[in-house]
Symmetry: C2
Subunit: 363 residues, 2 copies
């Protein structure tokens, strides 16, 4: 019996897709060709993902709770998914999710991400209460320190060039160099696919009047933002604390997406325009999804982010996850942590969890 | 015809509840006693909430998209809700939400929050792409600056005392003073309700072995965390960037909840224990929900947070919201903003939006 959309060989829209963490390939699991039962079996084999990254994309099904797991149903059957094994559930078009399923995901520290009908656009996220904030705190420290902030900006530019950046370059000069690199990427794609290129230009108030290449680029970029958003949230960083871009809730997403735009979005957009104008944006989005899957982009972005925001000797890697129920620490001006859940009036000491002290504090 | 659970006078579980922004009371709307049609009509009257706060709580219904709005359905009928008028949709038990509804909420910059069956526990959030990050950036700046961080900590303690804190007190001494204040709150509640009090103590591995007052306190606190979480997220702050607590994804929630614990959670817990032991935790949670509604706690927390994190002369209030589609700015080491969406190679200048430049950068 065929099970819910676990298998769609030859179809551009992937419908049920596991990205196993890192290079660990699950036995018997083949993303682009699998049966429902194989999928169900393999999903149960997924490792705990506290230190890994598992992604599951679903569409056109109802997601409900099933004991300690979630269950995917459509008119053809059901598949159990152990939420504890997942880092991210990506909910595509045609999905309906119950409150109980969301609770199960939250209890298991699994992120829920709604992706758009017109690409892998992010909509919403969930988060476990006891997850460590170490990644975001490190990001905030770097963001708020002008010297380190600049260092991250330079690293982000460096990642786009094969050769080391001359340390004597000013930020303005590096931006100019980057402008040339991007223009060359467009020129190369224009030549490779025999398409004229008049420069990036669009108007969101007159979307359909853009030329085909510009419309294709916009579609490709929007899917790239989605996958980058998933990676940023999964890795525990804030989408808002951007280094190059600033001021928007998704500024960091724009930062990250720009690391991969010329490699993935630009050639895909030109390639699809060269094939014709029919259903252009849709074809671009499907092509991008295929590329993300084939090139394992999610598994590449997370380590890239970690390298980008790692500085030896820094305060990163505060491990609050050893014991899930620890209340965390109390901040000290000296930098030393003070245990939470302790009465500082000196009369009683009690064991507490999850912030259920007064931060001070008698619980 | 009665419409979906818009009306539940006398029932402890509110089922459809609008918290109008600030003191603006909607004509004809009465949260604890209303008809479905009144509700539907009034919802259409809700003001745009870019600068206000509207909260809608729903349960036991299906949420779907309806043209530009969302629609709530159950077996008895449907109610349209203009998502553009809402800041926060709180999804309670028994709700099911479609992908299309989530998209509508996201498109309208409305937060979606799943609240738990056992209180107002937060589960997941959505966010609009173009929302300003000014609030979170201000929080991150204060958080990362040791002097300002300490100032916020002191402010948080000051909020709990009617008299000004002696400036010569050390943080350790303030914590001791707070410990005494909290212990007095317990002692007062113990005396008022004629219940013995042996100190706050519980073990999450042996929940049912706690004494009734401790179990009631845990239930009351969990609902308080939920409402504080909703307020923090709605106001644009990060739950992770705590000032007193640190290291957890919800550290700031623990900070904020502690500002209100003795006022709301402690008396409610003792009061319900004094009434008997039947369904204790459930009664506590319902009592807390009633208190939140009667005392308009959500409308109080958001301004409290804004005052807490406001410093005159600081960089707060960066207004990136004037034009929703602006790409935000590019960060500059000098503190000056550089417009995004501009090619710094100097050959072309183009108008772009939403980060669709290379941050640099030729788009």
């Amino acid at each position: 019996m065929p099970l819910p959309r676990l298998h769609a060989p030859g179809r551009a829209d992937m419908s049920f897709h596991v990205f196993p963490p890192g290079s660990r390939k699950l036995p018997g699991w083949h993303p682009s060709c699998c049966s429902g039962f194989t999928a169900m079996k393999d999903l149960h084999l997924l490792p705990k993902v506290r230190d890994g990254w598992s992604y599951l994309y679903v569409e056109h099904c109802r997601i409900d709770r099933s004991e300690k797991a979630i269950v995917l149903r459509d008119e053809r059957g059901k598949v159990d998914v152990p939420a504890a094994s997942l880092a991210v559930l990506m909910l595509g078009p045609g999905t309906t999710v119950t409150h109980a399923a969301i609770s199960a995901l939250a209890d298991n520290g699994c992120l829920a991400i709604w992706t758009g009908e017109e690409g892998v656009r992010f909509y919403a996220e969930g988060m476990g209460e006891t997850r460590s904030s170490a990644a975001m705190l490190q990001q905030a420290r770097l963001w708020a320190d002008p010297r380190m902030h600049l260092e991250v900006v330079i690293r982000m530019y460096q990642m786009r060039f094969p050769e080391p950046l001359d340390p004597s370059l000013t930020l303005q000069q590096i931006r100019g160099k980057e402008g040339i690199r991007v223009r060359q990427a467009y020129a190369t794609a224009s030549r490779d696919y025999g398409l004229p290129w008049e420069g990036r230009n669009y108007n969101r108030n007159a979307w359909n009047r853009g030329d085909p290449v510009n419309r294709a680029l916009s579609a490709a970029n929007s899917t790239l933002y989605g996958i980058c958003h998933a990676a940023v949230v999964s890795a525990g960083y804030s989408p808002a604390l951007g280094f190059i871009h600033t001021g928007k809730r998704l500024s960091f997403i724009y930062d990250v997406a720009n690391l991969y735009k010329t490699e993935f979005a630009v050639p895909a957009a030109f390639e699809e325009v060269a094939k014709g104008s029919d259903r252009l944006e849709t074809r671009v989005r499907h092509r991008m999804r295929d590329i993300f899957s084939e090139r394992r982009l999610l598994q590449r972005i997370v380590p890239d982010l970690q390298r980008l925001l790692s500085f030896s000797g820094g305060p990163e890697g505060e491990g609050f996850d050893e014991e899930e129920a620890r209340p965390g620490s109390l901040w000290e001006p000296t930098g030393a942590d003070v245990a939470g859940g302790v009465n500082f009036a000196g009369l009683q000491k009690e064991t507490l969890d999850g912030g259920d002290d007064f931060g001070t504090g008698t619980p």
